[in-house]
Amino acid sequence: MPRFLTIWLPRWPVQRRLLARPELRRVPVFVCRRERRGAMTVVSWAWAEPPPDERRKRVVSGRSGRVVIPAGMSLAEAMAVLAVAHGSRACHVAEVDPDDPAADRESLERLARWCRRFSPTVGLEGALDGAPECLHLDVTGTAGFFGGEEALVRTVVWTLAARGVHARAAIADTPAAAWAAAHHTDAVAQLLHQTAPLVVRRAVEGAAHGVRLASRRHRRWAVVPRGEAATLLADLPVAALRIDAATAAAVAEVGIDTIGGVLAIPARSLASRFPPLLCRRLAEFRGTMAEPVVPPGGEALPQESHAFDFPVRTADLDEQQLLGLIEGLLGRCLAPLVARGEGVLALQLRLEQAARMAAAPTVIDVGLFRPTASQQHLVELVRLRLTRQRLPAEIDGVAVEVIAAGAVSCRQRLLFGGGVGGLESADADAEVAMLLDRLAGRLGRGAVCEPQAVGDAQPEHAWIAAPPNGRPPPAQSPRPAPRDGGRAPRERVSRSGARGYAMPRPVPAGRRPIWMPPRPVPLDGLEGEVMAVAPDGPPVRFRLGDVLHRVAQAHGPERIETAWWRGPTVRRDYYIVETDSGERFWLFRRLRDGGWFLHGMFA
């Protein structure tokens, strides 16, 4: 009989941020998404460690004290609720972060891989809204290794707690039943008449935070015995079946609000009166429809190593010999990948040092921009990195491990196609990808980029160097852009796009110089000086170095006032000036003190 364990990580978006930045535990954390028309709605929120007087306040006030902010509430309303419960200071220190479901998923997959110590098959739930918060583990027959299912589920919760992850877990016959039980562990434990709920000591990572007692007694695990899922979980609300809002409304209309009530409906009327999702969920709950647990990321990635019989001195080792050895190891790693139609995306080469030296191995990480199955290309990249690496004096062994793999696009090559100038576009893309890998191998990954415009008015920050073929730039801070301060009133910027960040404002062509120094060059004193007729007018003459330019035409001013959140506000009036020799420069006057700067040349 199969048994499944479900781990529920409540408020996973917030938990992920708390794991990354433990200092956020002391402040309320809101994860928000920007909706249409600029409104911000709360996806998830939590306040992990309110200060002690806040907790006392809650108890003393006599109310239940729990601040309820459901998902979908607007941020302004949520802040108001928080202010009423904990005072306005809590709102000032609150941390607001934009929603990043891709990063949430990635870190959940990493946690799933870590949970392989409990079961070889760990998968993410297929959440309806695309933001999974649960992990399903197939624990059929593995409970014996942990001393019973009760012990297994307790170990899971405590081990995760030791890592700083707040989780609830339950074991049942099907993933659906385990999901329902994990979301209501208190109720299930009470129903099972187990001993009084234990006080959970949760040791947070880092001794500085100390040990915190749970203020309410919770039981965070539950084991549903075989075959008793229907009876035990009958009193749970219908939402525990993982249905969407429309189906829940349809069920509530009929007056049914527990799983037991839904189970009692005859199957024929169920299918005709309610959406098909409900039938599917019931089938999964009962176990008549299988719900496979799919591990993320596919199968294990190959790794090969070669240990020498005795430590070899690198001074004696020829580069060709070492490369030949690495080539052989790479070939053996590539064979299973090629069979699956995949290529290498990231590779790690380790040169183990002799045991008696007891030093860490020399590690070389090679990353690619596109998966490749070409052994020659990989050896070339490794060779480029090795030439820049200081090798240890003695090597004990060489290991090659594939860290990431991806599907390689297959293309049918033309038998007679391709002339001298002709090139298939897919070929061209592959060639460019290999070029970028080689450039990154020698210059460093940060030195090769594809520029992307971001919606920042300050010219120095108007673009970012994104990795080629990388993900789109991360969502920007959800603080609203300065109203009417960033642009002249005629140029009204259009507000947010479809996703949570503002679309970059395209600057009209011809307004920005192609040649811009990293910092504006002050034109006071040695570098040059500027003379303007009107105190706030365009310049008429300026000296750059030892050349005096007279201004024939000037366009402007373009006022840019921005970046108050980065430090002192940047307030500049920009002018595009054309001198009488035809050269064009980009000057600005800093409004704070009237100083002139050169910020670009229209080369």
Binding site: R442, P459, W463, R512, G582, R584, M601
Partner: protein, 290 residues
């Protein structure tokens, strides 16, 4: 596996490649092949000793690069041209938002920022070798942005000759790399480089023409430039054709703009039919015999 190509094969391959228009008819008339030949290098000389200054040479070079990277569709039997432009920026002064409106959706811009001179030479070589790259834009040996000490130093005597020799070798490697793959190298150099040897097919001095530019709204809409043929292969120098032309660069679209008075804008320079011999000495003559 190393592939060996003989010089003869390269010549044949070069001749087989169709000549592409640069997008500016006056410029096409100026170039020796009647357009840009894929697999060649073109040098643009601009005012200013340390940087391209405000003359418009880099903008024009980028407009030509955009034209080369344009995907050509709809012709029977035609295959897609490479769409990637690689900019090798050693100085860190290149500002992509200035040219991003010209790229559109079909072209791709990659910026490489090497931190050393030999890395810069290697990067340009590798980029020119790649068949998927349409154009490589660079300003090699540009001293802008470096400290005043290195900028002001003048090499003397044999050190200068050695540096020039290394430079000439690098440029020859680039020419061979471009010839093997079909990419076009566009290099923006200071005007003082007229005296240096060159392996480029054409060397064009770019000077801005003041006044009279059409304006739209609150900014300049176009740029008028005077181009002068200042060197290159023997074919370029010895031809009896034009040696100067005016072009109009439309800043909104990065292509040729319409002239206000509609007539052809090529002009002949009054003066000797053949250009005055450029200084350079023996090494200059030797490398032109390509």
């Amino acid at each position: 596996m190393v592939s060996v190509t003989t010089g003869g094969e390269l010549l044949v391959r070069q001749r087989e490649r169709p000549v592409v228009s640069s997008g500016f008819r006056p410029l096409d008339a100026l170039l020796p092949a009647g357009g840009v030949r894929p697999g060649s290098l073109i040098e643009w000389l601009a005012e200013g000793d340390a940087g391209p200054g405000g003359g418009g040479a880099a903008s024009l070079a980028f407009a030509v690069a955009c034209r080369l990277a344009e995907a050509r569709g709809g012709e029977a039997g035609a295959q897609a041209r490479p769409r990637t432009i690689v900019v090798v920026d050693r100085t860190g002064w290149f500002h992509p938002p200035a040219v991003m409106p010209w790229l559109g959706d079909e072209r791709r811009l990659v910026v490489a920022r090497p931190s050393r001179d030999d890395d810069e030479i290697w990067t340009i070589d590798q980029a020119l070798r790649c068949t998927g790259v349409a154009a490589v834009l660079a300003w090699p040996r540009n001293r802008v942005g470096r400290s005043a000490a290195t900028r002001g130093s003048r090499l003397g005597g044999s050190a200068l000759k050695g540096a020039l020799q290394q430079w000439s070798t690098a440029m020859r490697r680039w020419q061979l790399a471009a010839a093997s793959s079909g990419a076009v190298g566009l290099f923006v150099r200071p005007l003082a480089a007229r005296s240096e040897p060159s392996w480029a097919e054409a060397r064009i001095a770019v000077a801005p023409l003041p006044g009279g530019s059409r304006q739209s709204g609150s900014t300049f809409a176009e740029r008028r430039l005077r181009l002068t043929l200042a060197g290159g292969s023997w074919a370029a120098v010895a031809a009896d054709g034009q040696h100067a032309a005016d072009v109009v660069l439309d800043l909104a679209r990065g292509c040729a703009g319409a002239t206000p008075w509609g007539a052809a804008t090529t002009r002949r320079l009054a003066g000797p039919a053949r250009p005055v011999a450029l200084a350079g000495g023996r090494s200059d003559v030797a490398c032109r015999a390509s």
